[in-house]
């Protein structure tokens, strides 16, 4: 099942407008280059707290954010890509990571607990217990009647309260999009060692539409368009994290590198020049955000 091509709709990119393709790529670059700057700063010991990197998994939020930009967001610990793709300010994120009062939670919460309540974006902060964002999201949908998206990992999906909350959403026909970013790992334990069942089948059993796909952003984009009109719904997306569970190390190359695959496809589609421009622009802006001298000044080191 799990593969870099699972469930991809053939020739999907050609059916999506080029400005959307470029916006998705733009979002992916925001995450990738923000985190490259972060990694440098971490290695320079500018800060030393836990960080949960999204690199490798960028395509999911990058594409979904364009379809459901106005949903209330309940993410869990690995949430940089959610935050940045849905429109969170990278400077406020940097400041949160390095513990400044100008951070998203005044520098008190950190990488795994990001919130944002500006520019028409509503992202509620997490607290560190995986999967608890799911009942919170369901309760928020119940209380407000507004649509909600809950992001969680394949590990969190196993928490008993996650599918209890999903079941409640079905019973009450709540507009909640449940998104599992399935990197096959809970810290370092693979799914085959943890369970014999599929979350997608559980979701179907609960009575909601549910699909398994890989993290091809254009397929994710199309599936999100379809499912957002039949909420509650569940989507399980195979993906790979490029770095350690937390912190900035790697255990060799990931199973697949979606960022590179996407770039190659866009070049094949004749967008090489545009994506080069996007990439350079974002690279420069993120380098400015993570400029060492600026950081030292901010931290008065």
């Amino acid at each position: 099942m799990r593969s870099p091509t699972y469930g991809i709709i053939p020739n999907i990119a050609k059916s999506i407008k080029s400005d959307i393709l470029l916006q998705i790529f733009n979002n992916m670059c925001r995450v990738r280059y923000f985190e490259l700057g972060l990694i440098e700063a971490f290695k320079e010991k500018i800060f030393d707290k836990f960080v949960y990197l999204s690199s490798g998994q960028e395509s999911i939020a990058a594409s979904m954010s364009l379809v459901i930009p106005d949903f209330m967001i309940f993410a869990q610990h690995r949430c940089h890509s959610t935050y940045l793709s849905f429109g969170g300010d990278p400077v406020a994120l940097r400041d949160e990571l390095i513990g400044l009062p100008s951070g998203t939670s005044g520098g008190r919460a950190g990488s795994n607990c990001l919130q944002y309540h500006k520019n028409n974006m509503t992202m509620f902060g997490h607290h560190g217990l995986i999967g608890e964002n799911v009942p919170f999201g369901v309760g928020a949908a119940l209380g407000s009647g507004k649509p909600v998206v809950c992001f969680f990992g394949d590990g969190a999906a196993e928490e008993d309260y996650v599918f209890a909350a999903m079941g409640f959403a079905v019973t009450h026909k709540l507009p909640v999009f449940f998104v599992c970013e399935d990197n096959n790992l809970s810290v370092l334990t693979t799914i085959d060692k943890r369970r014999s069942w599929s979350m997608t089948e559980v979701a179907k059993g609960l009575g909601m539409p549910a699909v398994d796909i890989t993290d091809d952003p254009w397929t994710v984009y199309r599936k999100t368009q379809e499912l957002k009109d039949t909420l509650p719904a569940f989507i399980n997306i195979y993906t790979c994290r490029a770095y350690w569970h937390n912190s900035v190390g790697t255990d060799g190359p990931p199973e697949w590198d979606r960022f590179k695959i996407v770039k190659d496809e866009l070049i094949k589609l004749g967008m090489g020049k545009q994506i080069e421009e996007i990439e350079n622009k974002i690279k420069t802006s993120m380098e400015q955000i993570w400029d060492k001298k600026l950081l030292q000044k901010l931290l008065k080191k």
Binding site: A109, Q115, H127, V138, S144
Partner: protein
Amino acid sequence: MGQKTVAETIKEITRKHLTEDNGLLLGESITAVGWVNNTVPDCKGIIELPMTDVAGAGIAVGAAMVGRRPIFVIRFQDFLVLNGSPLIFFAAKIKELHGNCAPVFVRAIAAENFGPCHSGVLHSIFMHFPGFRVCSPMTPGEYEKIWQDYMEHDDPMIVSEHRASYKNTEELNDVLEKNADITLYPVSATRFEAVKAAQMLKKEGIICNIINILWLKPFELTKRLIDPLTETKKGLVIDPGHEIAGASRSIAYELMYATNCKVGALGLEDKTKCLYEPLQNKYPDAEKIYKAVKNMI
């Protein structure tokens, strides 16, 4: 006081909250088996939760995050161990962590005589964690006051109710005696028992002050609490929960430290509450309070 019971007071407050103030009420089996001892009105805004204790609490917290000020009903306080996670780790932390709020009104109902997992009083656990307001109203007037307090603040509130109070129509005023021998500080349903114990002791010439404890957190060492103790030099805090690391010892410590007077604690023994004697481990009733006071004097 008037004729209204505590149960009727809760029902009235709830009805207004649900019908006029866009509130919600969530809980398991609310609309069955006597509508929670007749404390819940039959009106809009009631959400029957499935038997999902952890997720259910999380759903209530989520509703609080979007401003619905939900009343979350827990029929037996013991279940708070399951319900606790979203309350303790999120609702109570969100203000300091993120600067926003999740004000859930938790109706945590205690009872006596229902065995090991239905007779517990767990408010001490919630005093332990930062971020809650914790109280234990036993009279109609107190319930109205704590509701007002909840609506004026944005913190989650643990309301440690007790079935023994539901039929009560009377306010329980502090009792200050001349030349008293000891000051009693009862909490929750032990307040009704302390009144009886004081009468038993009076017959034997032992005079007790009774200072009612409504607020467990924030706990304020006011003159009302301290002055009678400095006169009697002896005090006893009485709580229906477990004594070890519980409300009785915690409050006794505060009083003792502030006054240098000897203050005892009386709660449950460090034993499971079984259904029948000899290990029933009943909450401090009049008899037990009577004995504890005699031991101290």
